[in-house]
């Protein structure tokens, strides 16, 4: 299990090593980037020492992305099934203590949402999202939602609480392709500061969830850290370690990485502890691409339209569009509270147009449920 591997890696030592990286080490990493880089090389590429090399990284990153993915961007859409949650993540709008209207979509409402999404754009990649409430919206509920969605979408993923391997297996049999789960932060000491209660407070259960996905034969595993909690360079490096670990153990699985940024806001009570600038975001994305030519890099509508337009050639391979981050947001309850506020509120057709203008093809369908019978 990865938790045992992680124990061997010191957070503080890793942080120190990243900040000690030199221009020479960055150049060495760049000269080796045609083959698989080590995590140590990755640390050089996300270090402050690599900042002057951003354009060079961009040229290489573009080249390797096109070799593997071509000039294409895959589109996906999230659909929130529920905002009912027993966790207390201090940064989340759905946290247990917040006085918000709790919704668990009924079958009819799910169907209405699915149809509304289909009216919005020819989406085939659907990400179903829930809060953590195993009693009222547990595996049975998720499985039912998958079965409702399957006739309309060719690629089904979920972003739900970590499950047991057996439960992932069961969902895969119901048509599930991918699982997205954010570790949020790999800083074990600080983890419970942000996740003080509920199942999510159990660091090991969450971080080992990825092993269980691999054991269950999930086709694609989506990983992520939330930028705004801990030193992001260290957190992303831990994710790089984790990615390599998973690739070695679960070699039949595809992987994607996400690193959404929290932004300071006037309304939210929680303010990010650390910020990542646009320039740093791009550096991270490129470092990840040079580290792994094949990993899917996903950028959601948390990022604004202009920024998303500009990063199209820089390593990103999948994007969401037209997203609603509240249950029922597409059809049933358009007024409910969002989990996080969307920065890019363009219609999917507008995003599609922008991608085409950048010289890239929009891919709606990249999987067929028939391939996993």
């Amino acid at each position: 299990m990865f938790s045992e591997e992680l124990q061997k890696i010191s957070w503080h030592e890793t942080t120190r090593a990243i900040y000690a990286k030199t221009a020479r080490e960055v150049e060495d990493a760049l000269s080796r980037a045609h083959a698989q880089l080590s995590v140590d090389d990755f640390m050089a590429l996300i270090s402050p020492a690599a900042e002057p090399y951003l354009e060079q990284m961009a040229q290489l990153g573009k080249q390797y992305t096109q070799m593997r993915f071509g000039k294409t961007i895959s589109m996906y859409v999230p659909m929130y099934l529920s905002n009912s949650c027993t966790n207390s993540c201090v940064y989340c709008g759905f946290q247990h203590k917040n006085q918000v209207k709790r919704i668990i979509l009924t079958d009819d409402e799910i169907l209405a949402e699915l149809k509304a999404i289909k009216r919005l754009a020819p989406f085939q990649n659907l990400l179903l999202v829930t809060g953590e409430n195993p009693r009222e919206a547990g595996v049975d509920y998720i499985e039912r939602a998958l079965r409702l969605a399957q006739p309309m979408f060719n690629n089904l993923s979920v972003e739900v609480m970590p499950l047991a391997a057996e439960q992932y297996r069961r969902l895969t049999e119901a048509g599930l392709y991918g699982v997205v789960c954010f570790q949020e932060t790999y800083n074990r000491e600080r983890y419970t500061t942000y996740h003080p209660a509920g199942m999510k407070s159990k660091f090991e259960w969450r971080v080992n969830g990825f092993d269980r996905m691999g054991q269950a034969g999930v086709h694609k595993i989506g990983m992520g850290v939330l930028i705004g909690l801990e030193e992001w360079r260290t957190d992303i490096t831990m994710m790089a370690y984790h990615l390599r670990y998973l690739q070695r153990h679960y070699w039949q699985t595809r992987y994607s990485v996400n690193f959404p940024r929290m932004r300071p806001s006037e309304n939210d009570s929680f303010q990010p502890n650390v910020l990542m600038s646009d320039r740093e975001y791009v550096q991270t994305m490129l470092a990840m691409r040079l580290f792994d030519h094949d990993v899917d890099i996903s950028v959601s509508t948390r990022e604004n339209a202009e920024f998303r337009n500009n990063i199209i050639p820089l390593g990103v391979t999948s994007m969401s569009a037209g997203s609603k981050t509240d249950p029922g947001g597409y059809a049933s309850y358009p007024q409910a509270l969002e989990q996080f506020s969307v920065s890019d509120d363009r219609l999917p057709a507008e995003v599609e147009q922008a991608i085409r203008s950048a010289g890239y093809e929009v891919v709606w369908k990249d999987w067929d449920t028939a391939l996993q019978q």
């Binding site: 070699w251 094949d294 369908k365 067929d368």
Partner: protein, 262 residues
């Protein structure tokens, strides 16, 4: 076909005859329109398309509509499947929806380098042949596997030059040479061909055809690159038919070992 300026021996695979020995793919292009133009420029008469990328049941599928040109035969592929069982299911779906019994069998359980699983490929080939398919399997450059595939009735073999999308050329050269030498079915070098010179080299060696995708799709000028491959494949084939002169490492003026016989 006007793109074929220098007609060589036609290539026959199962029930079809091809003038062009360049097969192409459909992934990674920056637009469907550009893909269509590049396919036309390549002169290719056999174009592979991933089942996972198209809605096989949708007559208005954008990608399919851009591939269906008068002289182009469709070669659906099973990219994405991880074992023989999934491959057979996918092939049946392709046959039903796309109305062709040709299938490019791709079983790569490894999603990173997309390296083919020979064991599962052999199993699936046997089953698909039994079900009446014309099977073109993507495989490692493994001469023994090629003979086994022949025995179960494969229509051709498609050994890789190097990993898909790597543009690294014929890294498996020596194995390809053995495969070509021994094969009773057409040998199509698939994957890794990154430059027209790589394609020409494969053809000079006696490959029946080559399949090229990434090098064309990702080129800054896919149409021109498609044409370059078209010419390179013709040049390579002509050289093969004309027989290359033997390579010589140096002069052989004296015969120190055999001079006593004179």
């Amino acid at each position: 076909m006007e793109k074929i300026k220098y007609p060589a021996e036609a290539l026959t695979i199962a029930d079809k005859t091809f003038t062009s020995r360049l097969f192409t793919g459909t992934g990674k292009f920056s637009s469907n329109a550009l893909m269509q133009e590049a396919i036309a420029a390549s002169g290719s008469e056999l174009v592979t398309v991933a089942l996972k990328r198209v809605d096989a049941h949708d007559r208005d599928d954008q990608m399919l509509n851009h591939i269906l040109l008068p002289h182009v035969n469709l070669l659906p592929n099973t990219s994405g499947v991880r074992n023989a069982k999934e491959a057979v299911f996918a092939a049946q779906l392709a046959r039903e929806a796309l109305e062709t019994n040709w299938i490019k069998l791709e079983i790569h359980p490894d999603p990173r380098y997309l390296l083919p699983d020979g064991e599962e490929t052999l199993k699936a080939t046997e089953e698909l042949v039994r079900l009446g398919f014309v099977v073109l399997p993507y495989i490692q450059a493994d001469p023994v596997l090629c003979k086994k595939l022949e025995e179960v009735g494969t229509a051709a073999v498609m050994p890789l030059g190097s990993p898909i999308g790597s543009n690294s050329g014929l890294q498996t050269r020596e194995m390809l040479r053995i495969i070509i030498e021994q094969s009773k079915v057409p040998v199509v070098v698939d994957a890794g061909i990154g430059a027209p010179s790589h394609a020409a080299e494969a053809m000079e060696m006696g490959a029946s055809a080559v399949l090229v995708n990434t090098a064309i799709a990702v080129s800054p000028n896919p149409v021109k690159m498609a044409e370059a491959f078209c010419l390179a494949v013709q040049a390579g084939r002509m050289a093969y038919e004309a027989r290359l002169a033997k390579q010589s490492m140096g002069a052989h003026a004296t015969s120190p070992l055999t001079s006593f016989l004179e």
